[in-house]
Protein backbone atom coordinates (compact mmCIF):
# COMPACT_ATOMS: atom_id res chain seq x y z
CA UNK A 1 0.00 0.00 0.00
CA UNK A 2 1.26 3.47 -0.88
CA UNK A 3 0.79 6.59 1.17
CA UNK A 4 -2.99 6.91 1.71
CA UNK A 5 -3.56 10.63 1.06
CA UNK A 6 -7.02 12.12 0.50
CA UNK A 7 -8.47 15.52 -0.42
CA UNK A 8 -10.45 17.29 2.24
CA UNK A 9 -13.62 16.57 0.25
CA UNK A 10 -13.25 12.79 0.08
CA UNK A 11 -11.30 12.13 3.27
CA UNK A 12 -12.69 9.10 5.13
CA UNK A 13 -12.01 10.71 8.52
CA UNK A 14 -11.01 8.91 11.69
CA UNK A 15 -13.19 5.82 11.10
CA UNK A 16 -11.07 2.80 10.19
CA UNK A 17 -14.02 1.11 8.47
CA UNK A 18 -14.65 4.16 6.30
CA UNK A 19 -10.98 4.22 5.40
CA UNK A 20 -10.94 0.48 4.66
CA UNK A 21 -13.88 0.97 2.28
CA UNK A 22 -12.30 4.01 0.61
CA UNK A 23 -8.96 2.28 0.12
CA UNK A 24 -10.40 -1.10 -0.89
CA UNK A 25 -8.69 -2.84 2.02
CA UNK A 26 -10.04 -6.38 2.16
CA UNK A 27 -11.76 -7.21 5.41
CA UNK A 28 -12.90 -10.77 5.86
CA UNK A 29 -16.31 -11.30 4.28
CA UNK A 30 -16.91 -14.43 6.34
CA UNK A 31 -18.42 -16.98 4.01
CA UNK A 32 -17.46 -19.89 6.22
CA UNK A 33 -20.20 -21.40 8.33
CA UNK A 34 -19.51 -23.28 11.48
CA UNK A 35 -21.68 -25.96 12.97
CA UNK A 36 -22.83 -24.41 16.20
CA UNK A 37 -22.14 -20.76 15.90
CA UNK A 38 -23.38 -19.53 19.25
CA UNK A 39 -21.78 -22.08 21.51
CA UNK A 40 -20.49 -19.89 24.29
CA UNK A 41 -21.48 -18.20 27.50
CA UNK A 42 -20.25 -14.77 28.46
CA UNK A 43 -21.75 -12.65 31.24
CA UNK A 44 -21.14 -9.06 32.26
CA UNK A 45 -22.61 -7.33 35.27
CA UNK A 46 -22.31 -4.00 36.96
CA UNK A 47 -20.99 -3.56 40.46
CA UNK A 48 -19.85 -0.73 42.72
CA UNK A 49 -16.37 -0.45 41.15
CA UNK A 50 -17.44 -0.77 37.50
CA UNK A 51 -18.16 -4.01 35.66
CA UNK A 52 -17.05 -7.64 35.78
CA UNK A 53 -17.02 -10.04 32.82
CA UNK A 54 -16.60 -13.81 32.79
CA UNK A 55 -16.47 -16.11 29.77
CA UNK A 56 -16.16 -19.84 29.30
CA UNK A 57 -13.24 -21.04 27.18
CA UNK A 58 -14.63 -23.79 25.00
CA UNK A 59 -14.84 -23.70 21.19
CA UNK A 60 -17.43 -26.13 19.88
CA UNK A 61 -17.91 -27.31 16.31
CA UNK A 62 -19.92 -30.51 16.79
CA UNK A 63 -17.07 -31.70 18.97
CA UNK A 64 -14.88 -29.71 21.37
CA UNK A 65 -12.40 -27.96 19.12
CA UNK A 66 -10.51 -26.04 21.77
CA UNK A 67 -10.59 -25.68 25.53
CA UNK A 68 -8.61 -22.50 26.07
CA UNK A 69 -10.21 -19.88 23.81
CA UNK A 70 -10.21 -16.25 24.94
CA UNK A 71 -13.66 -14.80 24.34
CA UNK A 72 -13.09 -11.49 26.10
CA UNK A 73 -10.48 -9.04 24.91
CA UNK A 74 -9.55 -5.53 25.96
CA UNK A 75 -10.79 -3.33 23.13
CA UNK A 76 -8.73 -0.61 24.76
CA UNK A 77 -7.55 0.23 28.27
CA UNK A 78 -11.09 0.83 29.63
CA UNK A 79 -13.26 -1.34 27.41
CA UNK A 80 -13.86 -5.07 27.21
CA UNK A 81 -15.44 -6.73 24.20
CA UNK A 82 -16.71 -10.29 24.16
CA UNK A 83 -18.08 -12.40 21.34
CA UNK A 84 -20.37 -15.30 20.75
CA UNK A 85 -20.74 -16.89 17.38
CA UNK A 86 -18.40 -18.04 14.66
CA UNK A 87 -14.88 -18.12 16.08
CA UNK A 88 -13.22 -16.86 12.90
CA UNK A 89 -15.67 -14.00 12.46
CA UNK A 90 -15.55 -13.22 16.15
CA UNK A 91 -11.77 -12.92 16.22
CA UNK A 92 -11.89 -10.70 13.14
CA UNK A 93 -14.63 -8.65 14.73
CA UNK A 94 -12.58 -8.03 17.87
CA UNK A 95 -9.48 -7.20 15.81
CA UNK A 96 -11.35 -4.61 13.74
CA UNK A 97 -13.01 -3.12 16.81
CA UNK A 98 -9.70 -2.80 18.66
CA UNK A 99 -8.03 -1.32 15.60
CA UNK A 100 -10.90 1.08 14.95
CA UNK A 101 -10.89 2.50 18.49
CA UNK A 102 -7.13 2.97 18.44
CA UNK A 103 -7.23 4.40 14.91
CA UNK A 104 -9.83 6.95 15.94
CA UNK A 105 -7.82 7.91 19.02
CA UNK A 106 -4.62 8.44 17.01
CA UNK A 107 -6.28 10.27 14.13
CA UNK A 108 -8.22 12.70 16.28
CA UNK A 109 -5.90 12.83 19.33
CA UNK A 110 -8.89 11.97 21.49
CA UNK A 111 -10.33 8.68 22.72
CA UNK A 112 -13.80 7.69 21.54
CA UNK A 113 -16.47 7.82 24.28
CA UNK A 114 -17.78 4.49 25.56
CA UNK A 115 -21.15 5.18 23.95
CA UNK A 116 -19.36 6.08 20.71
CA UNK A 117 -17.59 2.72 20.77
CA UNK A 118 -20.87 0.90 21.46
CA UNK A 119 -22.61 2.62 18.55
CA UNK A 120 -19.67 2.02 16.19
CA UNK A 121 -20.18 -1.76 16.48
CA UNK A 122 -23.83 -1.65 15.34
CA UNK A 123 -23.25 -1.32 11.58
CA UNK A 124 -20.47 -3.93 11.78
CA UNK A 125 -22.90 -6.46 13.29
CA UNK A 126 -25.59 -5.49 10.82
CA UNK A 127 -23.22 -5.93 7.89
CA UNK A 128 -21.94 -9.33 8.97
CA UNK A 129 -25.27 -10.73 10.04
CA UNK A 130 -27.30 -9.44 7.09
CA UNK A 131 -24.80 -10.51 4.46
CA UNK A 132 -23.92 -14.00 5.70
CA UNK A 133 -26.55 -14.97 8.26
CA UNK A 134 -26.40 -14.68 12.03
CA UNK A 135 -22.72 -15.22 12.79
CA UNK A 136 -21.57 -12.83 15.48
CA UNK A 137 -23.12 -11.25 18.55
CA UNK A 138 -20.82 -9.24 20.75
CA UNK A 139 -21.19 -7.43 24.05
CA UNK A 140 -19.34 -4.35 25.12
CA UNK A 141 -18.64 -3.32 28.70
CA UNK A 142 -16.39 -0.66 30.07
CA UNK A 143 -15.63 2.17 32.38
CA UNK A 144 -17.20 5.42 31.20
CA UNK A 145 -14.62 8.13 31.84
CA UNK A 146 -17.09 10.99 31.71
CA UNK A 147 -19.90 9.42 33.78
CA UNK A 148 -17.44 7.75 36.19
CA UNK A 149 -19.30 4.42 36.18
CA UNK A 150 -19.28 1.01 34.56
CA UNK A 151 -21.64 0.53 31.60
CA UNK A 152 -22.82 -2.51 29.66
CA UNK A 153 -24.14 -2.70 26.07
CA UNK A 154 -25.82 -5.63 24.37
CA UNK A 155 -26.85 -6.09 20.73
CA UNK A 156 -29.46 -7.87 18.69
CA UNK A 157 -28.80 -9.63 15.38
CA UNK A 158 -29.84 -6.59 13.36
CA UNK A 159 -27.18 -4.46 15.02
CA UNK A 160 -29.48 -2.78 17.54
CA UNK A 161 -27.50 -1.55 20.51
CA UNK A 162 -29.08 -1.51 23.97
CA UNK A 163 -27.62 -0.34 27.20
CA UNK A 164 -28.28 -2.54 30.23
CA UNK A 165 -28.37 -1.13 33.72
CA UNK A 166 -27.79 -4.49 35.41
CA UNK A 167 -26.26 -7.37 33.48
CA UNK A 168 -26.22 -9.12 30.12
CA UNK A 169 -25.36 -12.55 28.75
CA UNK A 170 -24.54 -13.88 25.29
CA UNK A 171 -24.16 -17.36 23.81
CA UNK A 172 -25.94 -20.70 23.92
CA UNK A 173 -25.65 -20.97 27.70
CA UNK A 174 -27.48 -17.67 28.17
CA UNK A 175 -30.78 -19.05 29.53
CA UNK A 176 -29.02 -20.72 32.47
CA UNK A 177 -26.60 -17.87 33.11
CA UNK A 178 -29.36 -15.29 32.81
CA UNK A 179 -31.62 -17.11 35.30
CA UNK A 180 -28.83 -17.26 37.83
CA UNK A 181 -28.06 -13.57 37.42
CA UNK A 182 -31.73 -12.62 37.67
CA UNK A 183 -32.05 -14.38 41.01
CA UNK A 184 -28.82 -13.06 42.44
CA UNK A 185 -28.45 -9.53 41.08
CA UNK A 186 -28.71 -6.51 43.36
CA UNK A 187 -27.90 -2.95 42.29
CA UNK A 188 -25.43 -2.55 45.15
CA UNK A 189 -23.20 -5.56 44.49
CA UNK A 190 -19.58 -5.22 45.52
CA UNK A 191 -16.94 -6.34 43.03
CA UNK A 192 -16.26 -9.53 45.02
CA UNK A 193 -19.98 -10.37 45.15
CA UNK A 194 -20.36 -9.63 41.44
CA UNK A 195 -17.45 -11.92 40.56
CA UNK A 196 -18.92 -14.69 42.71
CA UNK A 197 -22.37 -14.34 41.13
CA UNK A 198 -20.96 -14.18 37.61
CA UNK A 199 -18.85 -17.29 38.27
CA UNK A 200 -21.96 -19.10 39.51
CA UNK A 201 -23.80 -18.07 36.32
CA UNK A 202 -21.01 -19.49 34.16
CA UNK A 203 -20.94 -22.64 36.31
CA UNK A 204 -24.68 -23.15 35.76
CA UNK A 205 -24.30 -22.57 32.02
CA UNK A 206 -21.40 -25.02 31.82
CA UNK A 207 -23.39 -27.53 33.84
CA UNK A 208 -26.46 -27.38 31.59
CA UNK A 209 -25.35 -26.32 28.12
CA UNK A 210 -23.26 -28.91 26.22
CA UNK A 211 -21.57 -26.16 24.18
CA UNK A 212 -20.36 -24.17 27.18
CA UNK A 213 -17.24 -25.28 28.96
CA UNK A 214 -17.27 -25.15 32.73
CA UNK A 215 -14.18 -25.12 34.95
CA UNK A 216 -11.74 -27.81 33.80
CA UNK A 217 -10.02 -29.16 36.91
CA UNK A 218 -8.30 -31.90 34.93
CA UNK A 219 -6.41 -29.54 32.63
CA UNK A 220 -6.38 -26.66 35.08
CA UNK A 221 -8.26 -24.36 32.67
CA UNK A 222 -10.77 -21.95 34.12
CA UNK A 223 -13.20 -19.36 32.73
CA UNK A 224 -11.67 -15.99 31.99
CA UNK A 225 -12.45 -13.38 34.66
CA UNK A 226 -12.11 -9.67 33.99
CA UNK A 227 -12.77 -6.49 35.96
CA UNK A 228 -13.04 -3.03 34.40
CA UNK A 229 -12.79 -0.14 36.84
CA UNK A 230 -11.50 3.43 36.97
CA UNK A 231 -8.02 1.83 36.87
CA UNK A 232 -8.85 0.06 33.60
CA UNK A 233 -9.19 -3.45 32.20
CA UNK A 234 -7.71 -6.19 34.39
CA UNK A 235 -7.68 -9.90 33.63
CA UNK A 236 -7.69 -11.78 36.93
CA UNK A 237 -5.10 -14.54 37.29
CA UNK A 238 -6.15 -18.12 36.56
CA UNK A 239 -5.33 -19.03 40.19
CA UNK A 240 -8.09 -16.66 41.31
CA UNK A 241 -10.55 -18.25 38.88
CA UNK A 242 -9.43 -21.69 40.05
CA UNK A 243 -10.11 -20.79 43.69
CA UNK A 244 -13.50 -19.24 42.86
CA UNK A 245 -14.70 -22.27 40.92
CA UNK A 246 -13.23 -24.74 43.41
CA UNK A 247 -15.38 -23.15 46.13
CA UNK A 248 -18.51 -23.60 44.00
CA UNK A 249 -17.49 -27.16 43.15
CA UNK A 250 -16.95 -28.08 46.78
CA UNK A 251 -20.34 -26.69 47.81
CA UNK A 252 -22.03 -28.56 44.99
CA UNK A 253 -20.19 -31.76 45.80
CA UNK A 254 -21.25 -31.50 49.43
CA UNK A 255 -24.90 -31.01 48.43
CA UNK A 256 -24.83 -33.79 45.85
CA UNK A 257 -25.19 -31.39 42.91
CA UNK A 258 -28.18 -29.48 44.26
CA UNK A 259 -27.87 -25.71 44.23
CA UNK A 260 -29.68 -25.71 47.55
CA UNK A 261 -31.96 -22.76 46.98
CA UNK A 262 -29.61 -20.13 48.32
CA UNK A 263 -27.72 -19.24 45.15
CA UNK A 264 -24.84 -21.51 45.91
Amino acid sequence: MGLPLYDATNDPGPSFLAFATASGLKLSSGHERELSPHATTVVALRCDTGVVMIADRQATGGYIASRDVRKIEAADAFTGIAISGSAAMGMEFIRIAQLSFEHYEKMSEMALSLEGKANYLSPMIQHINFSVGLLVLPMLAGWDQSRRQGRIFEYDGAGGCYERSDFTTIGSGSPFAESTLRLGFRPDLTQAEALELAALAIYEAGDNDPSTGGPDFVRNLFPMMVTITAEGFTELPQEFAAATFRTILERRTASGGAAGGNLR
Binding site: M1, G2, L3, P4, L5, F19, A20, S23, K106, E109
Partner: protein, 225 residues
Amino acid sequence: MSNFYYVPQEQIMKDKAEFAQKGIARGRSIVAAIYDQGVVLVAENPSASLFKISELYDRLAFAGVGKYNEFDRLREAGIRWADSTGFTYSREDVEARALANYYAQYLGDTFSSGYKPLEVEVLVAQLGSETRPTKLYRIGYEGTISDEPRFAVLGGDADTIRARFAASLSELAPLNVTLQRAVAALAGPDRTIATIDLEVAVLEDRGTRRTFRRVSEVDIDALRG
Protein backbone atom coordinates in the same frame (compact mmCIF):
# COMPACT_ATOMS: atom_id res chain seq x y z
CA MET B 1 2.16 34.40 -30.16
CA SER B 2 2.61 33.56 -26.54
CA ASN B 3 5.66 34.46 -24.54
CA PHE B 4 7.77 31.55 -23.29
CA TYR B 5 10.92 32.50 -21.53
CA TYR B 6 13.69 30.04 -20.95
CA VAL B 7 14.28 29.54 -17.24
CA PRO B 8 17.08 27.15 -16.32
CA GLN B 9 16.11 24.16 -14.14
CA GLU B 10 18.64 25.30 -11.57
CA GLN B 11 16.80 28.58 -11.13
CA ILE B 12 13.40 26.89 -10.85
CA MET B 13 14.65 24.51 -8.17
CA LYS B 14 16.36 27.31 -6.31
CA ASP B 15 13.20 29.41 -6.30
CA LYS B 16 11.12 26.50 -5.09
CA ALA B 17 13.61 25.65 -2.37
CA GLU B 18 13.70 29.26 -1.19
CA PHE B 19 9.91 29.36 -1.13
CA ALA B 20 9.69 26.18 0.96
CA GLN B 21 12.48 27.22 3.31
CA LYS B 22 10.81 30.54 3.96
CA GLY B 23 7.55 28.83 4.84
CA ILE B 24 9.26 26.39 7.17
CA ALA B 25 11.31 29.12 8.85
CA ARG B 26 8.12 30.88 9.93
CA GLY B 27 7.41 28.16 12.52
CA ARG B 28 9.30 26.92 15.57
CA SER B 29 11.67 23.98 15.54
CA ILE B 30 11.63 20.44 16.91
CA VAL B 31 14.41 18.34 18.45
CA ALA B 32 14.15 14.55 18.56
CA ALA B 33 16.83 12.68 20.47
CA ILE B 34 17.61 9.15 21.55
CA TYR B 35 18.11 8.78 25.31
CA ASP B 36 19.10 5.76 27.37
CA GLN B 37 15.55 4.34 27.53
CA GLY B 38 13.95 5.52 24.30
CA VAL B 39 13.29 8.52 22.10
CA VAL B 40 12.20 11.96 23.25
CA LEU B 41 10.58 14.52 20.93
CA VAL B 42 10.56 18.15 21.99
CA ALA B 43 8.71 20.91 20.15
CA GLU B 44 8.24 24.54 20.89
CA ASN B 45 4.49 24.84 20.52
CA PRO B 46 2.29 27.43 22.25
CA SER B 47 -0.86 25.48 21.34
CA ALA B 48 -1.96 22.70 23.69
CA SER B 49 -4.26 21.09 21.13
CA LEU B 50 -2.73 21.59 17.67
CA PHE B 51 0.03 19.05 18.07
CA LYS B 52 3.26 18.80 16.09
CA ILE B 53 4.16 15.43 17.58
CA SER B 54 1.90 12.43 17.29
CA GLU B 55 1.59 8.69 17.76
CA LEU B 56 1.75 6.67 14.54
CA TYR B 57 1.91 3.11 15.78
CA ASP B 58 3.06 0.90 18.66
CA ARG B 59 6.70 1.94 18.33
CA LEU B 60 6.52 4.82 15.84
CA ALA B 61 6.07 8.53 16.33
CA PHE B 62 5.64 11.42 13.91
CA ALA B 63 6.80 15.01 14.13
CA GLY B 64 6.26 17.82 11.63
CA VAL B 65 7.21 21.47 11.25
CA GLY B 66 6.04 24.10 8.80
CA LYS B 67 2.49 24.52 7.56
CA TYR B 68 0.15 22.72 9.94
CA ASN B 69 -2.44 21.64 7.36
CA GLU B 70 0.26 20.14 5.17
CA PHE B 71 2.10 18.08 7.77
CA ASP B 72 -1.13 17.07 9.51
CA ARG B 73 -2.29 15.42 6.30
CA LEU B 74 1.00 13.52 6.18
CA ARG B 75 0.49 12.51 9.81
CA GLU B 76 -2.98 11.13 9.03
CA ALA B 77 -1.66 9.27 6.01
CA GLY B 78 1.06 7.78 8.22
CA ILE B 79 -1.46 6.49 10.78
CA ARG B 80 -3.61 5.03 8.01
CA TRP B 81 -0.61 3.41 6.36
CA ALA B 82 0.59 1.93 9.67
CA ASP B 83 -2.83 0.66 10.80
CA SER B 84 -3.64 -0.94 7.47
CA THR B 85 -0.18 -2.49 7.09
CA GLY B 86 -0.40 -3.94 10.60
CA PHE B 87 -3.91 -5.22 9.89
CA THR B 88 -2.94 -6.83 6.58
CA TYR B 89 0.31 -8.43 7.79
CA SER B 90 1.31 -8.25 11.43
CA ARG B 91 1.97 -5.52 13.97
CA GLU B 92 5.68 -6.24 13.89
CA ASP B 93 5.82 -5.62 10.13
CA VAL B 94 5.08 -1.93 10.56
CA GLU B 95 8.45 -0.29 10.22
CA ALA B 96 9.75 3.27 10.06
CA ARG B 97 11.97 3.02 6.98
CA ALA B 98 9.15 2.00 4.63
CA LEU B 99 6.97 4.91 5.79
CA ALA B 100 9.88 7.37 5.67
CA ASN B 101 10.50 6.32 2.08
CA TYR B 102 6.88 6.97 1.15
CA TYR B 103 7.06 10.40 2.73
CA ALA B 104 10.31 11.10 0.86
CA GLN B 105 8.80 10.04 -2.46
CA TYR B 106 5.69 12.12 -1.93
CA LEU B 107 7.57 15.23 -0.84
CA GLY B 108 10.07 14.76 -3.67
CA ASP B 109 7.35 14.35 -6.30
CA THR B 110 5.45 17.37 -5.04
CA PHE B 111 8.64 19.43 -4.99
CA SER B 112 9.60 18.63 -8.56
CA SER B 113 6.22 18.50 -10.27
CA GLY B 114 3.63 19.94 -7.92
CA TYR B 115 1.94 23.33 -8.12
CA LYS B 116 4.00 24.40 -5.14
CA PRO B 117 6.39 22.51 -2.87
CA LEU B 118 5.10 21.51 0.56
CA GLU B 119 6.40 23.84 3.26
CA VAL B 120 7.11 21.07 5.74
CA GLU B 121 9.77 18.86 7.20
CA VAL B 122 8.75 15.64 8.91
CA LEU B 123 10.34 13.04 11.11
CA VAL B 124 9.55 9.37 11.68
CA ALA B 125 10.97 8.02 14.94
CA GLN B 126 11.12 4.33 15.76
CA LEU B 127 11.76 2.81 19.16
CA GLY B 128 14.05 -0.21 18.78
CA SER B 129 13.06 -3.76 19.64
CA GLU B 130 14.82 -7.10 19.59
CA THR B 131 14.57 -7.21 15.82
CA ARG B 132 14.86 -3.53 14.87
CA PRO B 133 17.13 -0.64 15.81
CA THR B 134 16.01 2.69 17.22
CA LYS B 135 15.81 5.08 14.26
CA LEU B 136 15.23 8.73 13.45
CA TYR B 137 14.42 9.50 9.81
CA ARG B 138 14.21 13.15 8.85
CA ILE B 139 12.57 14.00 5.54
CA GLY B 140 13.07 17.47 4.04
CA TYR B 141 10.63 19.50 1.96
CA GLU B 142 12.32 18.38 -1.26
CA GLY B 143 12.23 14.69 -0.33
CA THR B 144 15.74 14.33 1.03
CA ILE B 145 15.71 11.55 3.57
CA SER B 146 18.37 11.33 6.22
CA ASP B 147 18.99 8.65 8.80
CA GLU B 148 20.08 10.58 11.89
CA PRO B 149 22.23 8.52 14.24
CA ARG B 150 21.58 10.18 17.64
CA PHE B 151 19.32 13.18 17.23
CA ALA B 152 17.48 15.17 14.58
CA VAL B 153 16.45 18.79 14.31
CA LEU B 154 13.59 20.03 12.13
CA GLY B 155 12.69 23.60 11.28
CA GLY B 156 14.01 26.85 9.94
CA ASP B 157 16.68 27.36 12.55
CA ALA B 158 17.85 23.74 12.35
CA ASP B 159 21.55 24.35 11.71
CA THR B 160 22.07 26.58 14.74
CA ILE B 161 20.05 24.31 17.01
CA ARG B 162 21.83 21.24 15.67
CA ALA B 163 25.23 22.82 16.46
CA ARG B 164 24.09 23.76 19.97
CA PHE B 165 22.67 20.32 20.71
CA ALA B 166 25.68 18.51 19.20
CA ALA B 167 28.00 20.51 21.47
CA SER B 168 26.16 19.22 24.56
CA LEU B 169 25.95 15.64 23.29
CA SER B 170 27.83 12.90 25.13
CA GLU B 171 27.01 9.33 26.13
CA LEU B 172 23.34 8.33 26.00
CA ALA B 173 21.88 10.28 28.90
CA PRO B 174 18.72 9.77 30.94
CA LEU B 175 15.46 11.43 29.89
CA ASN B 176 15.71 14.50 32.16
CA VAL B 177 19.23 15.42 30.98
CA THR B 178 18.36 14.85 27.32
CA LEU B 179 15.21 16.94 27.65
CA GLN B 180 17.11 19.78 29.36
CA ARG B 181 19.70 19.78 26.57
CA ALA B 182 17.03 19.74 23.87
CA VAL B 183 15.18 22.66 25.45
CA ALA B 184 18.44 24.60 25.88
CA ALA B 185 19.32 23.97 22.22
CA LEU B 186 15.86 25.11 21.08
CA ALA B 187 16.01 28.25 23.23
CA GLY B 188 19.57 29.36 22.58
CA PRO B 189 21.70 31.33 25.02
CA ASP B 190 19.55 34.46 25.19
CA ARG B 191 16.11 33.21 26.16
CA THR B 192 14.26 30.54 28.11
CA ILE B 193 11.19 28.62 26.99
CA ALA B 194 8.31 28.36 29.45
CA THR B 195 7.05 24.81 30.06
CA ILE B 196 3.60 25.80 28.86
CA ASP B 197 5.12 26.49 25.41
CA LEU B 198 6.64 23.01 25.16
CA GLU B 199 5.17 19.91 23.60
CA VAL B 200 7.03 16.80 24.71
CA ALA B 201 6.41 13.14 23.94
CA VAL B 202 8.44 9.97 24.36
CA LEU B 203 8.62 6.49 22.91
CA GLU B 204 9.57 4.24 25.80
CA ASP B 205 8.98 0.61 26.77
CA ARG B 206 6.72 0.33 29.80
CA GLY B 207 5.57 -3.24 29.32
CA THR B 208 2.63 -2.26 27.12
CA ARG B 209 2.20 -2.61 23.37
CA ARG B 210 1.87 1.12 22.74
CA THR B 211 5.03 2.97 23.68
CA PHE B 212 4.05 6.56 22.78
CA ARG B 213 3.30 8.84 25.70
CA ARG B 214 2.71 12.58 25.90
CA VAL B 215 4.56 14.14 28.81
CA SER B 216 2.27 16.36 30.88
CA GLU B 217 3.18 19.89 31.90
CA VAL B 218 3.72 18.80 35.51
CA ASP B 219 6.04 15.99 34.39
CA ILE B 220 7.97 18.30 32.05
CA ASP B 221 8.51 20.68 34.96
CA ALA B 222 9.75 17.83 37.11
CA LEU B 223 12.12 16.65 34.36
CA ARG B 224 13.46 20.14 33.76
CA GLY B 225 14.32 20.30 37.47
